[in-house]
């Protein structure tokens, strides 16, 4: 019976791995091929004549593509980094307040913040665009970062609320008894304890921001603010799709999030599970 269970689990794990890693493998394989090899029939499951020409074209080629990729890579790091910092800062304060402070309407406000997560992103696109336009923030880092922050703060607040709620109240009370103010208690006592939760919130926010396409597409007009995801989409022509180049660009785009996810997967899982058990 145990052997059967073990075999079933192995098959299940194998299927999940194929399902998850298969497309990534195929993207890497295609990125190492020429267009002719990639379109050969029957398909090659291994790159027969591997080449780095697509990566070379993207990173150091003579065409306009390399400068666009480099600039958009800088843009995406700036936008995701800034959005992560601001989101974590705001969510830390909000999460703490909702978890620990008693004030009228606390629960209503908290659930109202959480409820915004239920709105499809598309419904807020036009109003946000109009607001950003009114304030002259279209095609600026500030505009894109503000939109990201507005989208990610509710989830971050929820994660950190659960984290703060799971910390023993006694530590905080001891600090208050010793004469510390609320912010001092938060800064000196709670934040060190909540560091894993803050790291996981930052990672989740950064990864979500990295995958954004629609909002930066609409809110950025040119290379001064376009992130990598938008520039990759622009590599395809209307009638011609350079599949190997697109796959190479896709592989480059997933390096940073993949590295973060692999290095810090424990934090990400903990963050998503925060508050799920008592």
């Amino acid at each position: 019976m145990k052997r059967r269970t073990g075999a079933g689990r192995s098959i299940g794990v194998a299927l999940i791995l194929i399902w998850s890693l298969g497309p990534i493998y195929w993207a890497i394989k295609t990125s190492l091929q020429t267009e002719a090899d990639a379109r050969a029939k029957p398909a090659h499951y291994l790159p027969t004549n591997p080449t780095l020409q697509n990566y070379s074209a993207l990173l150091s080629g003579n065409s306009d593509i390399a400068p666009q990729v480099r600039r958009s890579a800088v843009n995406i790091v700036i936008e995701c980094g800034a959005a992560t910092i601001v989101t974590v800062l705001l969510a830390t304060l909000a999460g703490y307040a909702f978890a620990r402070m008693r004030f009228r309407g606390r629960n209503v406000l908290f659930y109202a913040v959480l409820a915004t997560m239920a709105f499809p992103a598309y419904t807020t696109l036009i109003p946000l665009y109009r607001i950003m336009s009114t304030f002259g923030l279209v095609n600026t880092y500030t505009g894109i970062v503000l939109v990201y922050v507005s989208g990610f703060v509710p989830l971050a607040t929820w994660i950190l609320h659960n984290y703060f709620a799971s910390l023993p109240v006694g530590i905080e009370e001891a600090g208050l008894v010793d004469g510390a103010r609320r912010l001092q208690v938060l800064w000196h006592l709670l934040l060190p304890l909540a560091r894993p939760g803050i790291i996981s919130t930052a990672l989740i926010t950064f990864l979500f921001a990295w995958g954004q396409f629609l909002f930066p597409l609409v809110l950025s007009s040119d290379l001064s603010t376009q992130p990598l995801t938008v520039v990759i989409a622009a590599l395809q022509g209307r009638h011609v799709v350079p599949s190997t180049l697109l796959n190479a660009a896709g592989v480059l785009a997933i390096i940073v999030p993949a590295a973060l996810a692999l290095a810090f997967n424990r934090y990400i899982v903990n963050g998503l599970l925060a508050g799920s058990t008592k």
Partner: protein
Amino acid sequence: MLRSTRTALLAGVTSLALVLAGCSGSNDKKAGGGSTQTSGVTITVALASDAPPKAALDAFTKETGITVNWVNIDWDSLQSKISAAATAKTYFADATNVDWSRVGQLGKLGWYYPMDSYVDTKAMAADVPQLASFTVDGHVVGIPYDASFMVTTVNTELFQKAGANPAPQTIDAYTAALKAIKAKGVVQYPLNIPFAAAEGLSTYWYETTGAFGGSILDKDGKPQFTSPDSPGYKAAQWMVDALKSGLVPPGNINVTDSQGQQNLMAKGQVASTFSDYSGNVGTLYNVKKSSSVVGKVKYIRTPGASGPGANLSNPDGIGIPKQAKYPDAAAKFIEWFTATQQQADFAGVNGPEKTFPTYPIPSHLSAVKQMTAKGNLVGGEDLVPMLQGSKPVFEGGAPSWYPKFSNAVYTNLHGAATGSMSVEQAIKTIADTADQLASGS
């Protein structure tokens, strides 16, 4: 997936805009308040294209005092941006792409200035055959800058190997030639039809319907394809039969138009694409890097029901959104960008230094003739008469509900191809959708 998501977004944003336009009770909105200044200004031009040569833009600036900020965005993304900016009544660019398929929507929504207020479009009409595709209710929404139209391409070598006429004049002769190619084992599947549920399948059906001697919708948007004797019905049946009888590769169920052209036609795996893109011989099939059929693919006059059929237009145009900051300056740019002489320069007629490398076929017939005379257009002598006789896909311009209609077309034709429904059911569903949309429900 990405494309369908973006198409859904585009449809969603446009639907929202249509509802808002309907609620406002008037489409005759006043201009967006842009400046009439035409000198010393910088305009933004957003097209799904590389920028023209810097020297050409500099010359335009010197001549007019207008500086051009060129923004190149892929076509799908550009449509989303146009819809989002117009719905939010927000400036995005002074001149943008106007695609033939969105002319009805843009006209109804009043998102663009009528170009006939700025340019003598009547004088232009004789030399720009596809201007009709951009005209709604007597107003021109955009000026075509390329002359894209649907053509039939054949791999002459494969036809000749089978002893078939590489320039069949009728659908019957064309079908017989394809069957001969298959029967003689020249290639296993001679015909490319992109049956993936995507826009390319819709346009393929429109062109095939035209070849069978009919049209899809009448001027009021009523479906013309419900009877089994109608050209539209016959075209759908012919396409599905071609798949079921083994003329089309079975894998084409999931093949889009560009995939079929790049992976099948350019590799010599199929012998013909009935509805191909004008210009593909020069830009794809005769390019050694991406093709193994260099010099073998030719344009032929579209085989029709009883003789050569028409070629339907699917060109790109350029227009001025109502939120433009400098509409008059944008109009000056459009006039310059779409002028015959400028198009001839871009197309390489007057030397490489003036050439715009990725420029498509010019929209002015006279510029195309100049290209052909100088040998700059592969198959030009075949394309000129086709362009001259090209027709709009929809007689009264693309309807405002075109994206939803096209969605119904490709979804149901794809369903008929997979066998999940019959051609009859697919046609009925498409017709019902058209009736509902045309009646405003």
